[in-house]
Amino acid sequence: MSIGGQGMRPCAGIPRLSFCIVCWVCWPVFCLAALPAVAQDDMAEIRIGYIRQLADRPPNLSNLIVPPDDEGFAGARLSVKDNNTTGRFLKQSFVLEERDVPTSGDALPDFRAMLDSGISFFVLDVSADVLLAMADAAGDRPAVLLNINATDDRLRGEDCRRNVMHIVPSRGMYTDALAQFLVWKKWRDWLLVIGPDERDGLYAEAVRRSARKFGARIVEERVWNFGPDARRTAQAEVPAFTQGVDYDMLIVADEVGVFGEYLMYRTWDPRPVAGTQGLSPSTWHLTHEQWGSAQLQSRFVKTNGRRMTALDYQAWAAIRAVGEAATRTRSAEPGEMEAYLKSPQFELAGFKGLPLTFRSWNWQLRQPILLVQPSALVSVSPQDGFLHQRSVLDTMGLDEGEAGCAFQ
């Protein structure tokens, strides 16, 4: 089990005092540059392609909180750095190639070019349709497409692909995580408010399924149709909109974020809000500190000068999964790495207190899900008492037998 020892004497010959000063100031540059032992051409190179195509953002959100420009990329870069620290000991080096495709552009040529250049591992922040087009374009060529942002349940069901693995949870996993908490709280009667976007409809469908699954009741559904930018009108509109219904919790389906934030504190009855706004399920939060995550948080802040977002985390986890496959197989050969990723032996330590593993029936990453509000973590699902014959994590999302995925 031992791995070839390598000389590590970054600072030999330098007086101790100056060594310390140099290392305090810029040890990453100095010490890493000075790492001897392994010549560059001895290193097995693992290239990872990262393609991002941002979804359309409605113009009325332009002066609201905007996500950082490097969202996702920053998580990926940190993960490559983590992998390379480990790679030093195994003569493996990881290289990230990034492409940022305009919203109106075509991401497929970039994908094909990367594939043709010999890249086998892809981190993809693209829509479900683009993801499927890429999966089909890859055909039988060795390629693992890691989906980090498309939450569509169909990608884990009827539209699953054998070469696509999902790091991001599905909508259903998110709403199941929320439903478990609300049922545990005994806030079982829900008013479901649905936005006009197609994605809001998909989110609402996931909420309905979760309510059925965990015994909550959707007492009424209402469609928000007041047009864009409710900031100055919500105080008048929301009370009237939420009148005449008896419920515990307002569940909002507003994935784009055009009105959900304005429901809180404006409902006719004093009721909490959850769903896409209010208490929301997520993979990460800036206040998450349990299970060693404080370490990843501070590493990220040091490297990027900002807090880590959920998308950054998803990109980090995707590339760590590739790193884990390379470490455990001690190989840079895509076939061997893919086989390991898809084997029952694969597990990832992802700062969630449990090993993260892939579901063999749709390659969805099993994971605990955080329930957060803007400046605090509220809870982590699965909740105690929700049991499953295989893994408590399988209480969230499409289980074996119900996913309807036949890999093609």
Binding site: M1, S2, G5, G7, C20, T86, G292, Q295, A349, L354
Partner: protein, 324 residues
């Protein structure tokens, strides 16, 4: 010899109607309220609490029994307190985010894992200066040192390796891949075994330090506890090498293992999220820190029974016992 000691202590206990005659001070670092709790090992009561730096985790006592060392992780320092007066004497240049550390068998230097910077920092605690920094894997955590002081072992939580470091040259001798999130490394007193726990992998391996081969891998099973909750962290082995104790985190158990036959003996129910362990110097008692239930459990080592739990501060993390 050992049996005789145990018998003598039991006899003394019967005669006096109380615990063992030897009284020690047990120091527990409370991660969330920045304090250290002192417990008397004879009365088994918490007798004092005093303030330390932010987010205290790793805790140790110098071999002369004079100094208490505390990793104040969020202050990026190791604090040195006078064991008797509990006054802060000085701080050591520890490097950022110190979590665990281990003293050289001679008593100096101190080897510190710096989680944030992928480094092990070597500090001369008398001269207060950094002797070296050794680059290791991502998130260095567990620290063990061979009884002869020649080999330091550090585990890296995200790289998932036990790094063997030559304490003379600070060169890496070898790297042994273990399961996910290795948390702790402990040599047996005779140096013949190195025990390493993997929290997320749910395993403990016993490594032959000479060959760096894994000679045994333990997995755990407790009825009514999910496999995922069996997360080994702290390890201690009795000086005679007969019994190893492993804290199993959210499984709320400490497992006793026959370290010669390499077989699991017994699971002991302790408080919630048990992390670190420490023996009294006479090895009659083992203390476990239970983070979520805010207490320590006291285990009778000979009987393999949990005899008491003692309230501490918030999120007790590390524990060390001072010789009296």
């Amino acid at each position: 010899m050992r049996t005789a000691t145990v018998a003598a202590i039991l006899l003394a206990g019967v005669l006096a109607g109380s615990g063992p005659a030897q009284a020690y001070k047990v120091f527990v670092s409370n991660e969330k309220d920045n304090t250290v709790t002192i417990i008397d090992s004879e009365t088994l009561e918490a007798e004092k609490t005093f303030n330390v730096g932010q987010r205290p985790r790793g805790i140790a006592i110098t071999h002369d029994g004079e100094w208490l060392l505390v990793c104040a992780s969020d202050d990026d320092t190791v604090q040195v307190f006078d064991v008797k007066t509990r006054q802060l004497i000085k701080t050591l240049p520890s490097g950022p985010d110190p979590e665990q550390f281990v003293l050289h068998p001679s008593g100096n230097p101190l080897y510190i894992a710096n989680e944030d910077d992928n480094l092990v920092t070597v500090v001369d605690i008398e001269a207060n200066k950094v002797l070296a920094e050794v680059p290791v894997g991502v998130e260095p955590e567990g620290m063990g040192i061979s009884p002869d002081g020649k080999v330091l072992v550090n585990t890296s939580e995200t790289t998932n390796m036990a790094h063997f470091i030559d304490t003379g040259s600070y060169e890496l001798i070898d790297n042994v891949l273990v399961d996910s999130r290795p948390r702790f490394a402990e040599f047996t007193a005779d140096g013949s075994q190195l025990w390493v726990s993997s929290e997320i992998g749910g395993t403990v391996v016993v490594i032959d330090p000479a060959t760096r081969e894994i000679i045994k891998k333990f997995t755990f099973e407790v009825p009514g506890v999910t496999k995922e909750a069996l997360q080994p962290v702290g390890i201690r082995v009795t000086r005679d090498g007969s019994t190893a104790f492993v804290a199993l985190g959210p499984a709320n158990r400490v497992v006793a293992i026959d370290a010669k036959a390499l077989e699991i003996k017994k699971y002991l129910l302790v408080g919630q999220r048990v992390w670190q362990l420490a023996f009294t110097p006479d090895e009659n008692y083992l203390f476990s820190t239970n983070g979520v239930s805010n207490d320590v459990s006291v285990i009778d080592v000979a009987d393999l029974k949990v005899i008491k739990s003692i309230r501490t501060g918030r999120f007790p993390w590390g524990v060390v016992v001072a010789p009296e």
